[in-house]
Every structure is written in C-alpha cells, then in structure tokens.
C-alpha cells in the first residue's frame, strides 16, 4: 500500500491584505500506522495541517507524500480521486448531506467509486450496524442526534475501507456519553489505519498512540502517552 503519510517542511501562509499570516511552518513528520493526535490551542494551525494532509488545500512550502506520491503536485481532481480511494474523513458536525438518509450518506462514497446499487446498500447497512445506528438507517440527518450523526459520518469514512483516516474535532459538540461512543469507535477503526486526529480536547488526544503539540503553526513537542488507556 502507500506506507506512511509524510509531511516535509510543510508550510502555509495566508496573505491578508498587507500582512501575512503564517498558519503553519516547517512541519515535518511521518504519520505511521495507528493513531496520532494533533493538539494545540485554537489558531495553532491544526485545521490548516489537516487541510494540507488531505489535499483540500495546497502548501506554500514543502510537501505531502503518500508513499511515493507527492500529493501537492497532483491536480484538484487527482487529489479528489486519492481522497476517495485512500482517505476517510470525520469533521465537526454538519458534515452529512442533509437531503440523504443515513444509509445513503454512507453509500455516497461507494456511489462515487462506481459500485452497483445493491452492493452499496448492503455495505452501507452493514457499516451502520457496526457503528450501532442501523435502526436509524432511513432517517435524514436532521432527525439524528449529534452522536448518531458522527457515527454515521464514521461509517461513511470507512465505506471504502481507506488506509488513512482524518478527523477534525470529531467530538466537538457532543455530550459525554456520545463522545465516549464516537471516540472508542474512532480509535478502534484507527488501529489498523493511519489515523490523524485533530483536537483541542486533551482527554481525547490522550487515547492516541502519539500526540503532536502545535503552537503558533510549529510542531513544538511529540510524546507517547503513558499506559493510562
């Protein structure tokens, strides 16, 4: 497969009129198999980093490599194809397609990948069962609780069984119980994948195998948490 996700001297500057904002600078790290949490205060560049790793945006410096592939050198549509085949995403809330039911949301990547309708539905229902929201399969997102929505989003992220999983504040707006459910499902799925979890929730981050600390757009510290899981 693609091996690790490597960021090399990754940097992103935004120009805002006269002044320049350095959102990320000199970030070098190879994300290995297993879960890596990226933490830091608000505005420290976490989302910027994730946007670059996923190819949503292009760096102003350095690059992102998936094995041999230089993601930042690919075109917009080529990056979309890479995301479809190799990456799954769970964002903060509001990331389900509001006009599609739960199972249809899960089936959406399968549809993009060209699977036949029957296979899509089977796989989608299967995944919903795994994340424990099968009984909500035919509900629209607006009828689901925040925790249920995030579990559907996780099922969708896993639809094409991608080797890479990205999550940006996946438990941001959830109550304690839902947070626990989503977190354990996420880390379970991250065990045999490259999971990059961006959060400012230190408790959540502590469950990851590695923690990266960002501050002012720079990687200031890495640590491997103790066996407190």
């Amino acid at each position: 497969m693609m091996g690790a996700v490597r960021a090399e001297n990754l940097g992103k500057r935004y120009r805002q009129g006269e002044k320049e904002v350095v959102a990320l600078e000199g970030f070098t790290f190879a994300f290995p198999q297993g879960s890596t949490a990226v933490v830091g205060p608000s505005g420290s560049g976490k989302t910027t980093l994730l946007n670059l790793l996923a190819g949503f945006d292009l760096p102003t410096e350095g690059g992102v490599y998936l094995g041999e592939v230089a993601l930042h050198r690919l075109s917009e549509d080529e990056r979309a194809e890479v995301r479809l085949r190799h990456m799954g995403f769970v964002f903060q809330q509001w990331n389900l397609i509001p006009t599609l039911t739960a199972w249809e949301n899960v089936a959406f990547p399968l549809f993009l990948a060209g699977l036949p309708p029957r296979a899509r539905k089977e796989r989608a229902l299967d995944l919903l069962e795994k994340v424990g929201v099968l009984e909500r399969a035919h509900h629209l997102p607006s009828r689901l609780s925040g925790g249920e929505q995030q579990r559907v989003a996780l099922a969708r992220a896993l639809a094409l069984d991608p080797p890479i999983l990205f999550a940006d504040e996946p438990t941001g707006n959830l109550d304690a119980e839902s947070r626990e459910q989503v977190a354990s499902l996420l880390f379970h799925a991250g065990q045999e994948r490259i999971l990059v979890l961006v959060t400012h929730d230190l408790e959540l981050a502590a469950r990851a195998e590695r923690i990266l600390y960002l501050k002012g757009g720079r990687l200031v510290r890495q640590e491997v948490p103790g066996p407190s899981r």
Binding site: D57, A80, L84, F91, W94, L100, F108, P109, F111, R120
Partner: protein, 380 residues
C-alpha cells in the same frame, strides 16, 4: 441513488420553491407553444384549403400575390381575352374569370364573402364535390348559392333576399352541404351583379384548370411570359408566399413569447443559484469525500435541466390542451382550426425549454464547481 436521484432529492427538499419555479417554466412554455401553434394552424388549414380549391393556377395582377381576396378587381376584359387565347395555345382545359367581394367589416362573423361566377358556371367547377342540400347548384342571373356555414350563421333560407347595394338584390336559390372547405364560407353569385356593384368590368383573378399530364409550374411560367402585368401563381407559389409571410409572423410571435421564456429562464437561474449558495458546505463535503469538480457541475446543471425539461413537458401538455380548446371555439365560429401543436412545434418547444435550463444552469454550475474545498468546508 444516482446523480438524477440526488438532484431530485434536493428539489423535493424545497417543494414550494421548486413548484413555483416549475410553474414559471410551465407558463413560459405554454405561452410559447400557443403563440407558435397559430402559425402552424394557419399553415395546416392553408394547405388543406388550397388542396380543396380546384384550379391549379390562378392568374392575378402583379403585386397581388397571395390570396388576393379583398383587392379591387384589376384584370381587364382585354387581358382576360388574351389569357384565353394564350390558354388555348398552351392547351389548358379551361380559364374561368372570377371576382371576390367582401361585404361587412373585418369581423368574419358579420362579413359576407361573395365569389362571382361566369354565366353557366356552377360552383362545383371550382370546388369539386360540393352539393346542394336545398335548392340548386347553378345560380340564375339574380340568384345566389350560399355556403353551409354562412347559411347557418345568418339563418338564410331559400328565397331570402341578399342586398349587395341599394340597387342590386339577389335571392337565395341554393344552400350547399357542409364540405369542410373554403366553400362553406362563400356565397356564389353571377359575375354581372358584382361587377355592377363595383362599377367595373374587371375581374379579381382568372382560374386556370389544366388537362391531365400538364405541369402547373411550366404552364404558369408560359402564361406569364405571354401576359405582361399578370402573375400566374400555382398552389405551390401561394404556399411559398404564405410560408414566407408565416415565417415572419412566427418570428414576431416567438419574439413575444421570448419575454416569458427569459423570465422563466431567470426563475430557474435564480432557484439554482440560491440552491448552490445554500449548499456550499454540502458541495465542500462531497468534494472532501472525493467528488470531482465535474460531478458538482453536473449535479447543478442537471437540477436546472430537470426543472426546465419537466416544466417544458407540462407546458407543452397544457399548451396542447388550450390549443384544442381554441380550435373547438374557432371551428364553431369561422370553421377553421386556428391552432395546431404539430410534432415539430412540440420538439422545438422541448428543445427551447432544455436550452433554457442549460443556459440557466451553466453559470451556477461553474460557480459551484469552482469553490475551493477549504472555503466550502468552512462555511456552515
């Protein structure tokens, strides 16, 4: 869940807005179909009338091409004699002089169309197959044979007087059976009293009947060559002339309906634009999941196309229904089906609706597919 399905879901998620937009397209298409159906109807009835009118060639004064019903008679007896001589040389079957006179206003309800016939000529010579339902077919010197619709409309019976002028009065001597053609709306009278009313010895037109095997076009050109100042037009010529006039009026009517079409197009564009704006984050999510830009583009264009084509179909159906209703009315009034929704008109209307949807959808679609993923994702 195919692309079409996604689009439909989105339209159904906002039913009122989609319905109102659809209504706009329906009204635009209906009005266009109706406007254009009048031209098609005229074409159709013209072709039918001309195929029922006997003579293969009509000789009329130059500049009076078309159906010179209402023109002042300008063909002199001398010209008539020369035409007869020319006709003899060319071996035509018969040349019949005729004269048209309209009494009454522009309203076909109250107008009388008189056609003058030479002595001894019955109307079935010009309109083969017509029969009297009462009285006779050949008018006497002071008689008139009345078409079925005129008789019904004006409640004319045998023996009733018809006053052409204070001094000239004719009597109804025959009433024709309904034939479905032009003759239903005519009153056939001898030439003499008509010429007397107009104070002339001239004719409106000379009707040329051909012998079997003669070619209308060739004979017409040969007649013209020998009759300066006169025009010999074949049924084909009349059709071509009428076609040109109809084309122009088609353009005018299409121009009028263009207003409705543009409004319909703007409605679609507005709806799609709003829907794109509201769904920016949704598109961002789709792109994040791996949808390409072309996918978003197709999604939006299809939405506009779906609105326009569905609205176009409904508009076509509604237009056809109204056209039928109009025909029911005009058939009763003037005996003509004024409106026709032909196959090519239907096709044209659907293509216009589709073109409308396409042009209304392209810009929003382009816009939607170009929003940067990060920007789209950032918007809630």
């Amino acid at each position: 869940m195919e692309l079409f399905h996604l689009v439909l879901r989105n339209l159904l998620a906002r039913p009122v807005r989609s319905f109102l937009t659809l209504l706009g397209v329906v009204i635009a298409t209906t009005s266009m179909v109706l406007f254009l159906s009048f031209g098609e109807g005229l074409r159709r009835s013209l072709a039918q009338e001309l195929s029922r009118v006997g003579p293969a060639i009509q000789i009329v004064p130059e500049g009076m091409e078309g159906l010179g019903f209402s023109g002042y008679p300008e063909i002199t007896p001398e010209e008539y004699r020369r035409a007869v001589a020319a006709g003899k040389d060319l071996g035509v079957k018969r040349i019949t002089p005729t004269l048209f006179l309209v009494r009454g206003g522009f309203d076909p309800q109250t107008s009388f169309f008189f056609q003058g016939l030479p002595e001894g000529v019955a109307p079935d010579l010009l309109y083969p197959g017509i029969k009297p339902q009462a009285g006779r077919l050949l008018p006497s010197e002071e008689g008139a044979i009345v078409g079925a619709k005129v008789a019904k409309r004006s409640q004319l019976a045998l023996g009733n007087p018809l006053r052409l002028s204070p001094r000239v009065e004719l009597r109804v001597e025959g009433i024709l059976e309904e034939s479905g053609g032009l003759a239903d709306n005519l009153i056939f009278v001898p030439l003499k009293p008509l010429q007397e009313v107009l104070g002339t010895e001239n004719y409106t037109a000379l009707l040329v009947a051909l012998n079997p095997g003669q070619k209308a076009e060739e004979v017409a050109r040969a007649l013209e060559a020998r009759l300066p100042g006169l025009k010999a037009q074949t049924t084909g010529d009349v059709m071509r002339f009428a076609e040109r006039a109809l084309r122009i009026s088609d353009l005018v009517r299409f121009g009028i309906s263009l207003v409705a079409l543009v409004v319909g197009g703007l409605l679609v564009a507005n709806t799609v634009m709003m829907s794109v704006y509201e769904r920016t984050r949704e598109f961002g999510v789709m792109r994040a999941l791996g949808a390409k830009r072309g996918f978003i583009f197709r999604l939006v264009v299809l939405e506009a196309l779906l609105l326009a084509s569905f609205g176009g179909l409904l508009g076509l159906a509604l237009g056809s229904a109204v056209s039928q209703a109009i025909n029911l009315y005009t058939l009763g009034q003037v005996g003509l089906a004024l409106s026709a929704v032909t196959f090519r008109l239907s096709l044209f209307a659907l293509l216009v609706a589709l073109g409308l949807g396409l042009s209304a959808g392209l810009l929003p679609a382009y816009h939607a597919s170009r929003i940067p993923v990060v920007e789209a994702l950032g918007r809630v």
